[in-house]
Symmetry: D2
Subunit: 348 residues, 4 copies
């Protein structure tokens, strides 16, 4: 059986999820929605992706395959990539009446879904649910690393400073151009969001916004229950799927070179779906583990969306889905079996 | 016969030329040089590209296929992508003794080559030469559009302001962060450089450097001998190969969205080898034609290097080479035959 | 007689105009308006400036001297520094009924005033008027230099590319962070705006917005009726009031160092009210004069507002007013008498 | 007795220290050094500051008052503001032979001085010494707040993430333009540097560099021995000299608006010598105190240099010197007596 998938909202995340669905042997992309006409819609049309009009009143210079309701009727799963808080509005107005399963994005508030989702942490919890929320790019990045370390050594508490890119590369409107903007709320919203995935870990997050477009960077400090050596920490993180150790000594001294490396890899759009961790920055001091990681905000949630589709359909196990997603999207699949991590997560 | 090509200098341009050579049915990439080890070399090694050590003394964590001299001995054509002015030094010390044909980049001064090169303007002039210089990204962009317009309507004089990106996307060292830096020399070096391709056109260029990494932008003002309507200018530029009309009305309001569109296209690294011209910005006022164009500094010279290889080998006509390069690299091939442009250029 | 002045809108321009009024021996600052409370109002209150509430409903943590109508009733002249298009709304709703004279800013459309104003160009035209618009920072900068050159040698036509700072230094919201945004309309709005001051000069302007906060930069190309030598052009511009020749050879290689020099001068807020022209960039080629100038967008219109106040009151001649404004604000007063320029302007 | 002071190195810090010396009733600025001629020297000459040539061979377009040795001979104290590591070289080659007392800057390594210095923390330790190093802008900012909190409640351990501005506002060369650059060494050099002032506090610092020029921002997490309420922490920090509570609710939402507020204050160059702390960001959670602070890298060490001059001369007590420095430079002098802080510091 092939899972019929529709994408609602064809922006930064939506267009990437649509492309990723096209690469899955067990999925069919029914189509994506079109709201206003722009270069993204033009590219989609050229690529042969079917477009469904959100509003029936509008007319477009590209062929339209049907209405929004037509799309809902033809799909098993909708991936909602609307700008927040449109996802919740769509749920109430369209998705619940249509009885379709839906994956939401992390911009929506947690209650939009029956559960929040990060594949490596809680895939099993979401099997068979109807409404699941993939957490945001920042939270996904933190859930992957903190979840993996917690599964292996136990995390007693976490302190994270998020240095956030202020806008996406395509965005010519948002600033700041020359300022650092702190989030004055403490913890920033990332801490509580991460606890929707890892509820047992006390976590304090501070966040600032800086004038760059390419990646978020997190400085992470974890108090551990069991203490690895620095070498053990490096080996473990280096062997975990969807993480990527990088070295300053190989010229990867900033987020800029990391994205250039991703472009060299041939990934579509130069995306990097793994979380990048600087090997030289991993350190153990007393009972504390420190490291810096960088998150490509445009793409790290794409594999999570693909896995979440399979989770709500109950069509594969966590390991099978992640392995297939990794393979089809060219993501690092890790050395140690994910079973260990999953088991550790599930027994907590 | 297959042309054996080596790439010296594996940076921003070198790695793209190497990838482009790999896509040509009539070329073989013998290998590229390695100087210091970094992520670029690591990517090349993973891709199976053979590495030749510039210095025999160094040792690297990747297999080395031979020395620099081995590379020279095995190649018909070298594409030198060294940082300026290393190309000239290499010519004297290595290339002339080795008797190899060489394509240089626009960072080198013009006399390094027997001629400067832009495929649409003067391919034929370079047929059979041994040392040819592809002009810089900015000059290539200007030569394509001004050359095409001159061929059609005659350019009496040109005034250009170049708003230059200060650093490439991977560069985490160069600034400025918050300043506009004018080039105080007038004309900027771009005017005389463009005249190595279009010697019969008086051109005045002013240049400033601005804090962005994604594209150069040129504001262009041409005094014409024969005056088209605005619609004729749009139709002609829109039908010319290696140019791409874009519309602000489709959301392409800055260099940022243009590069995002290029990423959507699936081009490796999200490159845009065409020169982008905003349709809404094309205007004819009296005898003057005005337009804005944007140049992707990392990639617009790549097809020129490929064509230059065939020119020095004398293996194809201009039209054949450009058509094959366009097809293999996914570049817009235009509507009108290039013959018109070429003939017009050659009869001047 | 002392001119009683009120400032409506206490933002980037308003706070500077208020401070400048405080320095004039022939003016009294009645007060400024307060709309929402922020650090600017806090600074004004600490400085003893009286605050008049735009809305009577609001309450503020600082003493309020009265209502908006109280302010209008107490003033001879209002300087309206509201964000566009609030000036026009204020005119119709408040200023015309109150019968007060008003100076507007360049963000408003030209018809808001009976005339547009740049002191060096057309002070006399505005003497005794009731509603006068000081043109924008960019237009003021262009009017000063192009007007002065036209008065001396005659400008047959002008071509200008404006490279505009995208946001002010205090602005943490506006972008772009990493893009160049062309204005696709041609001419950009600056050309027609400049012609409200210099109606007899054909002028074509192109504009782009770049990610910097400190200054606008203009590349200027003037076709002249009479041709000076380069040395004559340098001497004349260097001797003209409200212009400032700067040298790249003294480390002033970008807009950043120019603003640092202004900070060194001790000017309040590090402002630079003169237009800065790079001496090395001034060139004469054939009948064309080329130069680069930089405009401090936050402050170059401040002396114009002060002069405009005296013009509408008819209290001084152009030369007297400019001389007094220059002296009180620490602005370069020039070497040649302004009479020459003024006379030349008026006889056209 | 008036202290005769010379400034060696007239850059970002040197020119500010020279101006601050000019404002002290108990000091005389003998002069500053000139190395190469640029706009800074031109401003100094216009301001009547005497210039001493570092090299006797050079000639300058401004009057020279003497040689470097003349300057040393005429001064009681030199403030060395040379780029690192020139201070250490000057010490060995010039200062030790001349027998002059010297204040160094934080770019030099700690051993250049007999002690490192932050006025509020350890003025008394430096009384009468000959070679004292004022710590860097970041370390000064951290020493002020962490030292004050430690004196009041005891700091058991500190974790700090420094988000550093990449270049100063005048700098048109340094980048990055669009990247976040982590310092991969852990702790970053700031932790050990802070321990030269506060040796009894365990401190872990992580640092990243971001593309902005205006201020550093620190996210701070202190584990306390005695726990204040949030209100007590706000009241204490708000009453401490050389700190400044700011409110996001008054529009001070980023480093950009804070610097704009400083410009409004009339401080020369728009400098902010206090450390700014966001009131809304101060929080107490369990035994941990969290806050964000911003440091104006160009000026926060200026008052420290002035106090250090008096310390090495032994001419005033800490409280007397800080009070005089605060008054002459317009720095917030605090509500609680500094005696408490000083005593607490000295009894540790």
């Amino acid at each position: 059986m092939v899972i019929k998938v529709g994408v609602v909202g064809y922006g930064t995340i939506g267009k990437r999820v649509a492309d990723a669905v096209l690469l899955q042997p067990d999925m069919e992309l029914v189509g994506v929605t079109i709201n206003s006409y722009n270069y993204r819609m033009s590219s989609a049309a050229r690529a042969g992706i079917r477009l469904f009009a959100l509003s029936s009143a509008a007319s477009f210079p590209v062929p339209i395959a049907g209405t929004f309701k037509d799309l809902l009727a033809a799909c098993d799963v909708i991936v909602d990539c609307s700008p927040k808080p449109q996802g919740l509005k769509n749920k109430e107005q369209y998705y619940l009446p249509a009885g379709v399963k839906v994956i939401y994005q992390g911009g929506e508030k947690a209650p939009v879904g029956q559960a929040s989702f990060t594949a490596q942490c809680n895939y099993e919890q979401c099997v068979g649910l109807d409404h699941v929320r993939v957490v945001s790019c920042n939270t996904t990045g933190l859930a992957r690393t903190i979840g993996a370390i917690d599964a292996r050594w136990g995390v007693a508490s976490a302190h994270v400073t998020l240095i956030r890119r202020a806008a996406d590369p395509w965005d010519s409107h948002k600033g700041p151009i020359n300022a650092i903007v702190p989030e004055l709320r403490l913890p920033s919203h990332h801490g509580p969001d991460l606890q929707t995935i890892l509820p047992h870990i006390p976590i304090m997050t501070s966040a600032v916004i800086v004038p760059t477009t390419v990646m978020h960077l997190h400085t992470i400090n974890l108090r551990l229950r069991n203490i690895p050596t620095r070498e053990e920490a490096i080996a473990y993180l280096g062997g975990t799927q969807r993480l990527l150790l990088v070295k300053g000594s190989e010229g990867l001294v900033s987020t800029a070179e990391i994205m250039d490396m991703a472009r060299d890899s041939g990934a579509k759009r130069g995306d990097l779906m793994e979380v990048a961790i600087w090997e030289e920055g991993i350190n153990v001091v007393g009972d504390e583990l420190f490291f810096h990681q960088a998150v490509h905000q445009e793409s790290d949630v794409v594999p999570e969306n693909i896995d979440a589709i399979r989770a709500v359909m109950g069509s594969m196990s966590a390991q099978e889905s992640m392995a297939l997603t990794n393979k089809t999207l060219g993501i690092y699949a890790g050395k140690q079996t994910t079973t260990v991590v999953q088991k550790a997560m599930l027994t907590k």
